[in-house]
Symmetry: C2
Subunit: 445 residues, 2 copies
Amino acid sequence: MQPKLVRLSQYFLPALREAPAEAQIVSHQLMLRAGMIKQSAAGIYSWLPLGFRVLKKIEQVVREEQDRIGAVELLMPTIQSADLWHKSGRYDDYGKEMLRIKDRHDRDMLYGPTNEELITEIFRTGAKSYRDVPKLLYHIQWKFRDEVRPRFGVMRGREFYMKDAYSFDSSRENALDSYNKFFVAYLRTFARMGLKSIPMRAETGPIGGDNSHEFIILAETGESQVFCHRSYLERDGLDVMDDSSEARANAVQDWTSDYAATEDEHDAEAFAAIPETDRVSTRGIEIGHIFYFGTKYSEKLEANIIDETGATVPVHMGSYGVGVSRLMGAIIEASHDDKGIIWPAAIAPFQLGIVNVKPADTASSATAEQLIEAATNAGMEVLYDDRDQRAGVKFAEMELLGIPWRVVISPKALEAGSFEVTERKGGQTRHMALDDIVPFLCEQQ
Amino acid sequence: MQPKLVRLSQYFLPALREAPAEAQIVSHQLMLRAGMIKQSAAGIYSWLPLGFRVLKKIEQVVREEQDRIGAVELLMPTIQSADLWHKSGRYDDYGKEMLRIKDRHDRDMLYGPTNEELITEIFRTGAKSYRDVPKLLYHIQWKFRDEVRPRFGVMRGREFYMKDAYSFDSSRENALDSYNKFFVAYLRTFARMGLKSIPMRAETGPIGGDNSHEFIILAETGESQVFCHRSYLERDGLDVMDDSSEARANAVQDWTSDYAATEDEHDAEAFAAIPETDRVSTRGIEIGHIFYFGTKYSEKLEANIIDETGATVPVHMGSYGVGVSRLMGAIIEASHDDKGIIWPAAIAPFQLGIVNVKPADTASSATAEQLIEAATNAGMEVLYDDRDQRAGVKFAEMELLGIPWRVVISPKALEAGSFEVTERKGGQTRHMALDDIVPFLCEQQ
C-alpha cells in the first residue's frame, strides 16, 4: 500500500528532457525520461519511486489473479545451495546464465534463476498424500539470469522480478486441470492490464516437459518471431465465471483452437493452410510462460505422495511464470504516444494528476487541497504538482508520466468557476465546476 | 494485500509436533513448529505461507511509519557492481561478510549488505540544490551478510529482509533533524508491534559516523550485553503529534536522558552512578540502528548540492535500518507462552481463527460460513480450520499459531445457541450468540 497523495515538491522524480542514447526501444526511453528507473550496472536497475509504485501495482494484479484460482503465496530466498540442483541434474545443464557463487566456506551457491528444485523440496517435506493435493504454490521474488547481452531496459535485464507458481497433483489428468487454471488466470491477468495476450504453443527449454504455452503480446520491438491467426487480434479478454474443470478445459480449447506458435514450434505447413489474409507473422514479447512437466523433478527429488489406492507415486508438476518487471516495459510498448506513457487504469501509479499553475497563489493552493481531500476520500491516488515551475513544463511532465486524468488549477479557472479535466488517453478536455470533478471521475472508473 | 480468508484444508501449513533439535531459542522453535519457515541452506530460509503473511504485516507497519515522516520509497537491486564500493573504499574494508560474486564477464559484483554507495549515486544524479533537500529515501529489500556462523533462525540469518533509509541534507543541523525524524519513527514503529524498544548509544561500526543509536528490546536470548536505567522499562510508546523540529528534538532528548548503552559504548563509571536498584544489566536484541555520518560518502562519491549561498557543498547524510525479518523473531521472543505464539494485533496473520469441530455436519459448516462472511465484511482476516482432524489437535494448533481470537463451532454450541469466544492472550473464554460475535470483536480492536 503506497501513500494516497504525493506532492511533487517533496517527491524524488528525476525526469529527463532527453532519453539517453543507449535506450533503443520506446519503453526503455520513456521509463528513463519519466524518472522511473536508473541503471546501476548492465541489466540491473534501481526502481525510482514512480517506477516502484507501478511495479507494486502490477505485482498486486498478478497476486490477486493467483489467489483467485486458489494458489497460496509464500516466499523462497534468492540465494540457493547448489545441492538440490546437483540432484536434479540442472547444475551442470544450466549454462552461463546461472549466476554461480562461492560463499565464505567455499560452498557452491547460486542466485536462483527459477525455483523448481526448491519448491519441490518444500512440497516434499510438507505433503504426504492425495488429500494434500492439488496444491498450487507461488512466490513473487527477484531472480537473476546472467544474460550475455542485457538490453531493452527492464525487458531483458539480468536481475528481474518474477512470479513463479508451481502445481502439485496426484495424476497427469489432475495436473492438466491445474495447468488450465493458470492458463485462464493468465488471460485474466493480462486483460486487466489492458494487454491483448495470445497463448502460443512453445518450446519447453531448460524447464523441460511436454506441454507449454507462452503468452505473447504482439509488438514490433519484440524479440521473437511469432505466427498466428488474425482471429486472436479480435478477441477480448476472457472471464470464465463457471469455476469447474470443464469450463476451464473449454476456455483453453477455445483459446488454442486457431493457429498460434512461436518460431521454435512453428509449423510452416499448418500456417500456410490459413487463408493468406488471416496469417499474422510478426514479432512478439513473451510476458508469461506455463509448463506441464509431469514427474521430471519429483522423481529425481523424491517428492512422492500416497495415492487413493495406497501406492507411493511421484507427484505430477507444472510451473507457471509471469515476468512482473518485464510487464512494465511490455505495457508501455503497447500503450504510449509521442507525448509519453498512457497507463491503463488498473496499474496507473496515480489515477489523478493535479497541476497547480500558481502555487504561490493562496486561493489556488486552498482549492487544490480541497480537491485532493475529496479525491483521496473517494479512494483515488493523487499526484499533486505543487512545484514552482513553468505551466508548460508541468503539463508536459504530467503527460509524459501517463497519469489517466489531469485537472488544472489556476487563478483564471478559479475566477471562471470552471476547471479543465483532461483524459490522458485521447486527450479530450472537459470543463466543470470543482464539486463535480470527483463524482465525474468516480463514474469513469 | 493477502486474501482475507484462508481455509486450512486448502492452505500449506506444515506444522511440526516437535521442534528440530538445532533450534536453540524459542522464536526459532515456534516458527518451525508453526510451519512459518523452512531452512533451505545455512542461514537462508523459505517463508512458508503463514510466515510470509506475518512478514508482509511487519513490512507494512514499517512502511507506514516511514511514509508518515515523509520518506519516499524506492527499490534498489540486490546485486551491485563493485565499482562504487571501490570509490567509497569499503570494498576492501568490508570483510568476509560481503558476498562477492564474479559475473560471466568476470566483473566484480556483490550482494548488497547495505546501500549507502548506491543511494548516494542515485541522489547525486537526481538532486542539484538546497531546494531538493531534505530528502528521505528508503527501500525494503533482501540483503545478504555471509555470517560465519548463522544461528537463531531468522534472527541471525544470512539472507535477510531489511528496511534501510537514507537522509540527505544541506547542513549538519538539518541532518540531525532528519536523524530525529527516524528516531521518533522507530519508537512509533516498534510500539505498534507491541515492543518496548530502548534507544541505546551505540558504536557506528563499518557504516561510520559520529552519532548512532541502536534500538534494543531486552531478552535473555539477545546476542549483546546491554546496560540501562530501569526507567526505560516503565515507559510506554511515544506519540509526538506536534510535527516540528523542536517537538522531535524534545522527544529525542527525553528518550536519551537516562543511561542506556550497548556493551561497546558502555561507561562503567556513569552506570555505577545510577542507584543500584535502578541499574539494569541484561541482554538485548537489536531491531533497529540509526547513524548520522555527515559527508563520509558524499565526499568520496561527489554527491554535492548548491547551498543557499551558491556554494557547492557535499550533502550531509544519515542511514537508518530496521531488520524486518529479524523483527519476527524478536516479537515472538517478547510475546509467547508455553502453548505457542501470541501475536500483537497489528501484525497477527489473522485476527480470527474459527475451529469447526465437525466439518461433516452441515449445520456447523453453514454456521461457520455465516460467521466468516460477517467477519470478513467487517474487515477481519479469518483462518478457518475446516479440516477433518481431532478437535484437540485443532485447538492446540490455533494456540500454537497465536491467532488473537478463536471461535469454536460445534453441534453442541449450535444447540445451545452459545459459542465459545477465546482470547489468545490471557486465555479468557466468553460465551455469546452467533450474531454478537463480530460486533464484540470489532469493539476489541
